[in-house]
Amino acid sequence: MSHGPSASGGATLKPSPGHHDAPHEPVFTGATRAALDELITRYPTKQAVLLPALWMLQEARGWVSEAGMAEVAALLGITPAYVKGVVTFYTMYHQHPVGKYFIQVCTTSPCNVCGAEDVVKAFLETTGCGELGVTSDDGRYTVIEVECLGACGFATPVMVNSDFLESVTPDTVPGLLARYQ
């Protein structure tokens, strides 16, 4: 089943073998645990800390693994299934490992009219990913389509990790990527 950009969200990451088999080392130890405990004090219930806790997990590991979800569940006193339900509802939690550079290309209508699909194609070819949601063999890149990045006047906007790039065209893609090695 193809899941391109749609109302249900575009970020469908594909598993890359190898990552899943590594045993889960707890994330919430030491300073991270202290940060979480501090965060918990700011919310009315532990459950309410779920979204930030998942962000901390993703920041530490680059993605949210099932074992990581179980760790968060145990810490917050909720069930692993509930955590998974939340993780899979939102599009910005990575359920599979992603590349060092996570590239999000806006393909919503205005950008699409301005040629965003060609930008996507250029990224997929230049990075070697070949397919949306798949991490390149060298582990550097993952490309996905996203909904509106809020820069319709500067089609096609692209985010590489937290960098915001505007007016990207297929021609500028190789030059951009040279900055992200």
Binding site: M1, H3, S6, A7, S8, G9, E66, A67, M69, A70, A73, I78, T79, P80, A81, Y82, V83, K84, G85, V87, T88, F89
Partner: protein, 1008 residues
């Protein structure tokens, strides 16, 4: 209270009641899908939308509060069109081509038919997917029929309080998921089947573990919830496992139990529709091929000149020593190598575990065990039994006879059996396994307040108690349906205090976990009471009005400061203080306990110290302040109530009282002096070396595995002059019998059981006994007649009528009255009295109505770890097995979950001795040793190990200490000293195959 009209009917509901509640109250069938009784109303399916006058839009009946003056139309044109639309949308993802043309297989399809929605498939979305779990032995999934009503999610979360399931993903990919990783075990699933029960489409369904063999030898599975061939009848029964007393509906086809359903959730039953894994999936033992179908007589018994004699040269009897056979002793089996425990065979990735195979092949009685026996007629078997029992009575005296009755059998059967031994054979040597479970509770409760049963009910604990104090009870595994109720109580806001040496599931949910060293409970209780008195939190009014001798206890607990209690028990003093305060402040504290307190050489003391705490704080005799010893077996309460114990007749009327004896002798038509005025021997006294017992009758018990120091018991039973065993399988005990009488399982007879809250419930015969096996009651009637005690009963109802005549607190009980599903909680004073859910509001059943305090000093367990035996061994039950495994190890689904014996060992200890998970160790006590595989578990503290009691091949009772409580004569099953050593260093015993693929251990060679 709002009054409204629905379709012209006027109805009134409680404030907060919904339109749906109102409609159901007047019998209007508003359709529902996502709604389910007792679950949170989510209103997500929109099938129950109704028209309300004055409101433009349709309103969900399940989620709209009824208001005064509302005028509702349930089947308005708009509502019906809306429902058709909802059903049509759901059908877009539903495999419509599978829907049978004529009938509806489930709730959802019934609604499709009711609203006449076309089931032609519309092109579009692919079928929904989700949890698959190939190879599960009981629960199967076909998520293509899932309509995402989320009943399963809520049932798991709200009724069972586990939360295995949830909804993940969104939009067209939304689906039900299992835990975070698809592995139910990681998510805490116990396969209770609650999700199966609530599913309206059969997306989650159970296959039949009690599989029936089809004509061609293949197994009949159940592909979809209602796709079985039609059943012949459904019979209401009572679960034969624990004392929660869950009612079950047995579905019968061709005189075979093919499926278990739970009763409708809104019925007044103890379980309200819930079951645990044993009740729903563990009843296939009824049809196991090991069922005894013919009486057996040991070879060598011959009838000459009209009398039976044992001729060791006759037949092939000389092949074995007297009472021997081609089997290993339990002790020998304990030392054979073991297959390692499974390593998660049920995780999702392990697909293709293979077809079920015949569950009856899983754990079978070895064929060789039958060799020392020959098949016999009932006439022969009963004649031989009657002859030998009367011969021993006449030659060696009545006290040379003893009977072990059964907490698994009905009240009627137990009553008749003790009647036969007391009235017919003249002995009070009558006992059963209550001796090994709550006898110390009974002796302590008798002493303090002259009672022998729970004061309150399970529902009180769930709904009303503010504080739940749970001691020595692993309720979520041993009484799972009640365990779930406790979890619901905690969710409701009740405080849970757990006192248990192991970190059991409820301990991890408790507000306070008192992790006391086994057997140190007296110190903890005295310490708590000390602190309560120090703060003045005792209930002075209660103590003054309703008790005696408090000052003695006040003095006795004085030295037990929380610090001293902490030194003895290992529980931090601060926790003892906190627990004491929370318990005493209540305001309604319920006290629950089980074997962790009772199975000690100081069991009576331990329970007495707990009763002191209860009485000093007045936590009894009010709703929500229940005193609840959680009984073990399904009818251990009833067997005791009807006199299957050596010192009392029914209703705990002492055998030492000549007036009471006279009443029974008269009822039975025997002379008074036939029955001794002296209490008989208890189980643990019967099997002592100097016991006078020479002949025994055992009904439905397996003492060779359940008695402490099995090796001794096994030798002792072999020395008997005569042993008759009435059972449904050739148990470890039955193999030493002279006569084996094939009885009936719970599913094959009418009778009553009493649950842990004194509720007498009627269980009905669903199927006939197999082969020539007979109903137990018929066997006992016939044997009584042959022994010379006329027994003119035709059925269990007539026996109950007699029990009611001689049992004051059962006076109003009859089978006719028990037909109503709720049963009756005794005392039931007369035929009109509705029973007594809760006792001691005003007085205790003592002569002056007051309870008595007894001071207790802490005494250490009889055998503590030392240099030679440095570990402390604790024993008990597991979720998936029962007692000596006679039934559960013959249940396919249960034995698949937990098929090998294990010892729980703390990872730190395991690391120190260099053994890993699944490796084999030798556990030795001063009495014996067994080889057993390790399960690493931080449930046990370092220095302690836990071994379940269910496994013949590693019988933990070879190791246990037969030290007895001086009052109750209960053995110290919970504490003994053992050593643990790796069996073969570095050699793993992990089996390459999963248990489901493996052949049964009984057919494996011992060296395997």
């Amino acid at each position: 209270m709002p009054t409204l009209t629905i379709d012209g009917h006027t109805c009134t509901v409680d404030i907060g009641g919904t339109i749906l509640d109102a409609a159901r109250a007047v019998g209007i069938d508003v359709p529902t899908l996502c709604w389910y009784p007792s679950l949170t109303s989510v209103g997500n399916c929109r099938i129950c939308l109704v028209s309300v006058e004055g409101t433009d839009k349709l309103l969900p009946a399940c989620a709209t509060a009824a208001e005064d003056g509302m005028r509702v139309t349930s089947e308005s044109h708009a509502a019906v069109r809306s429902r058709q639309g909802v059903l049509g949308l759901l059908l877009e993802r539903y495999p419509v081509e599978d829907i049978p043309a004529a009938e509806a297989r489930n709730e959802f399809e019934a609604l499709v038919r009711r609203y006449d929605v076309p089931t032609t498939h519309r092109a579009g979305l692919p079928p929904r997917d989700g949890d698959a779990r190939d190879g599960d032995p009981a629960i199967r999934h076909d998520m293509s029929t899932c309509i995402l009503c989320t009943r399963c999610v809520r049932a798991c979360e709200e009724i069972q309080v586990v939360g295995v399931l949830d909804v993940a993903h969104r939009s067209d990919r939304a689906q039900i998921i299992v835990g975070a990783d698809g592995n139910p075990e990681h998510a805490g699933c116990t396969w209770c089947g609650e999700c199966v029960r609530v599913c309206p489409t059969g997306a989650i369904h159970d296959i039949i573990p009690m599989a029936v063999r089809a004509g061609d030898g293949t197994m009949l599975e159940r592909p979809r919830s209602n796709a079985m061939p039609p059943i012949d009848r459904t019979v209401r029964s009572v679960c034969p496992y624990c004392a929660v007393g869950c009612q079950l509906d047995l579905e019968v086809r061709d005189d075979t139990v093919v499926h278990v359903r739970s009763p409708w959730i809104e019925e007044a039953t103890p379980n309200r529709g819930s079951t645990c894994v044993k009740g729903r999936f563990g009843l296939d033992f009824v049809q196991h091929r090991d069922r005894l179908e013919t009486p057996l007589i040991r070879r060598g018994w011959v009838k000459r000149d009209g009398r039976w004699i044992f001729d060791a040269t006759h037949d092939t009897a000389s092949m074995w020593p007297r009472r021997g056979g081609p089997w290993e002793l339990i002790e020998e089996e304990g030392q054979t190598r073991k297959r390692g425990p499974r390593s998660n065979p049920l995780q999702r990735s392990t697909s293709g575990i293979g077809p079920l195979g015949d569950p009856r092949d899983r754990v079978a009685t070895p064929l060789a065990w039958y060799a020392p026996f020959r098949e016999a007629t009932w006439d022969e078997a009963l004649e031989l039994s009657a002859q030998e029992l009367t011969r021993l009575r006449d030659t060696s005296g009545p006290s040379s006879l003893a009977v072990l009755q059964s907490a698994k059998c009905s009240n009627e059967e137990n009553y008749l059996l003790q009647r036969m031994f007391r009235g017919g054979l003249g002995t009070n040597n009558v006992d059963h396994c209550t001796r090994l479970c709550h006898s110390s509770s009974v002796s302590a409760m008798q002493q303090a307040m002259n009672t022998s049963a729970a004061s309150g009910a399970m529902r009180e604990v769930e709904d009303v108690a503010d504080v739940i104090f749970l001691l020595g009870a692993n309720t979520t595994e041993s009484h799972p349906v009640f365990g779930a109720a406790i979890k619901r109580a905690v969710k409701r806001g009740a405080t849970l205090i757990v006192c248990d040496p192991r970190r059991i599931e409820l301990a991890s949910r408790a507000h306070i976990h008192l992790r006391a060293m086994p057997g140190t409970d007296v110190a903890v209780m005295n310490g708590m009471l000390h602190h309560i008195l120090a703060l003045g939190l005792e209930d002075r009014d209660f103590i003054a009005r309703r008790t005696h001798q408090f000052d003695r206890v006040r003095a006795a607990v004085q030295p037990y400061t929380p610090e001293r209690a902490s030194q003895i028990s290992g529980v931090p003093a601060a926790l003892i203080r906190e627990a004491a305060e929370r318990y005493a402040r209540g305001p309604r504290s319920s006290t629950l306990w089980a074997m962790g307190l009772t199975q000690h050489a100081t069991g009576t003391d331990i329970v007495t110290s707990l009763l002191n705490l209860i009485l000093a704080t007045g936590m009894i005799g009010r709703p929500g302040a229940a005193m609840l010893p959680i009984r073990g077996q399904n009818n251990v309460q009833g067997a005791s109530d009807v006199g299957a114990i050596p010192m009392v007749y029914t209703d705990y009327q002492p055998v030492t009282n000549p007036d009471i004896r006279h009443r029974f002798a008269q009822e039975w038509g025997v002379p008074d002096d036939r029955i001794p005025l002296k209490a008989g021997l208890k189980v643990t006294q019967m099997v002592m070396d100097d016991s006078p017992v020479r002949g025994m009758y055992i009904m439905g018990e397996n003492p060779i595995l359940s008695d402490p120091q099995v090796a001794h018991a096994e030798h002792w039973f072999r020395e008997l002059e005569f042993l008759a065993v009435q059972d449904i399988f050739l148990t470890e005990t039955a193999r030493y019998a002279d006569v084996v009488l094939p009885g009936s399982s719970f599913a094959e007879k009418d009778g009553t059981f009493v649950n842990t809250e004194r509720r007498i419930q009627l269980s009905r015969a669903a199927v006939p006994p197999p082969g020539d096996a007979r109903r137990d009651l018929d066997i006992l009637i016939e044997l009584s007649n042959r022994i010379g005690l006329p027994s003119p009963y035709r059925d269990a109802a007539e026996v109950m009528d007699e029990i009611a005549r001689v049992t004051p607190s059962w006076r109003g009980v009859s089978h006719a009255r028990l037909e109503s599903h709720a049963g009756l909680q005794y005392p039931v004073h007369d035929a009109e009295h509705g029973g007594t859910p809760f006792l001691f509001a005003d007085a205790f059943p003592t002569t002056d109505g007051k309870a008595t305090f007894f001071p207790v000093e802490y005494l250490p367990p009889a055998e503590l770890p030392d240099d030679a035996y440095p570990f402390l061994l604790n024993t008990g039950r597991q979720m998936y097995h029962w007692h000596t495994g006679t039934m559960t190890r013959r249940s396919f689904a249960l034995d698949a979950r937990e098929s090998t014996p294990i010892v729980e060992l703390n990872p730190a200890d395991a690391a120190a001795m260099g053994v890993g998970d699944g490796e084999e160790v030798v556990v030795a006590s001063r009495r014996a040793e067994i080889r057993i595989a390790v399960r690493l578990s931080d449930r046990v503290s370092p220095g302690q190990v836990f071994i379940p009691m269910h496994y013949r091949e590693a019988a933990v009772n070879l190791l246990t200490n037969p030290a007895l409580d001086p009052v109750a004569h209960i053995p110290e099953f919970k504490v003994c000293a053992v050593s643990v050593h790796p069996a073969n260093r570095g050699q793993s015993v992990h089996s390459a195959t999963t248990p489901l693929q493996a052949t049964s251990w009984t057919s494996a060679s011992p060296a395997e």
